[in-house]
Symmetry: C2
Subunit: 226 residues, 2 copies
């Protein structure tokens, strides 16, 4: 099958558009993060809790991807921040063109943070650069501690792993230490957080992480410009 | 992007090989089922419990797919049935050629049932026919009742939906009636089972389903041959 050459072409074209997006995000000093996980690991719920806890003056926007339905955007719109749904119509990942198209009418001068929620898929989204400053992988404790070894690409490319649904730890056979070791075997420098959106445990750490990441992003941009 | 025509070509080639496999499975009267779900929904655990509960005289074999690692095959081999790991090396789904290659040295005259465990991915595997008689989708109750609407293709193509990890129902905000309705909206005839591999609840129903499905498969083959 002549799949590989064409995939290369598609990925090269995606990389070109992503580089343009990255440049644009940097010029406007907008930190962009790309949330990736399996279906049902809690990306949308984490976003709900994030938006719920941010001051309404916060300059944040969300792009949320799904194969079908506008459900996630509807869930996220009630917090008053700009939210757009990207319906991929069957495509298993977001790509840079989709981002470019959906932000066309947004004024980036009015934003500090853009959170992209990718399609629920632990494999394909890892290959598509969206111009983000950081990929973030979510892993729910119900999924098993072996996932970093089985899906190494996304754990290798992510700056941060958020362990979600930690309130379920008493009820599932999940060895948190082994999960940490597996993630470190794939990516020794990966940062880690533990969050339960049900109890709120760890949410503050996550919000602090985003704040800190905004600062390092701005410092990095300032350095490059200077 | 000229992605669609090439994908069509790849899928046509896959369909051709899958049709050959299907014919071969039917000639040897081997029921083949293709298990599909998100990462961490419990495919391997369900297979462990299945093999553990089958009489050792049962003529069953397993092919298990992953991007990386032989972990699943190692977990499954200790039950004494033939098991082979397919390591896709990054590819997000199994395809018919991989199946053809990995069964090349198996004697199908000695089998009644082949269970294929696909790569953990609720999107891409739904597009690749493996010559199976039935696709089976697993959905764990931790993933949310909205998944059939968000990932309709696989729920539409599956004969059976197995709700897994039902022991966690008291601890998760999962509306089982809504999950059933969502699955039926996408696929009115889909069959459903509820299983907890931790408590064993529903396991007998699953084993009975496989038995029944073997009989309808054999009846169907006999009819076509007659």
């Amino acid at each position: 099958m002549n799949r590989v050459p064409l995939e290369g072409k598609v990925l090269n074209e995606n990389a070109r558009v992503a580089a343009e997006l990255r440049e644009r995000f940097r010029q406007h000093r907008v930190l962009v993060v790309n949330l990736i996980s399996s279906p049902g690991s809690g990306k949308t719920t984490l976003l709900e809790k994030t938006l719920e806890n941010l001051p309404t003056a916060e300059r944040v926007a969300v792009l949320t991807g799904d194969l079908q339905t506008e459900n996630d955007a509807n869930r996220l719109k009630r917090y008053g921040f700009p939210v757009k749904q990207i319906v991929t119509g069957g495509t298993c990942h977001l790509d840079a063109r989709m981002i470019e198209k959906h932000i066309a009418d947004w004024d980036f001068a009015k934003l500090d943070l853009l959170i992209i929620e990718n399609v629920g898929n632990l494999v394909c989204p890892s290959s598509y650069d969206l111009g983000e400053a950081a990929k973030i992988v979510l892993l729910s404790v119900t999924e098993g501690e072996d996932k970093p070894l089985k899906y190494p690409s996304i754990f290798f490319k992510s700056e941060l792993m958020v362990l979600t649904k930690t309130d379920l730890l008493p009820y599932v056979p999940f060895d948190i230490q082994e999960a940490v070791e597996n993630a470190r075997r794939v990516h020794p420098e990966i940062e880690m957080l533990r969050v339960s959106c049900l109890t709120g445990n760890g949410l503050r750490d996550w919000l602090n992480w985003l704040e800190r990441r905004k600062r390092t992003f701005l410092a990095d941009v300032a350095e490059t410009v200077a």
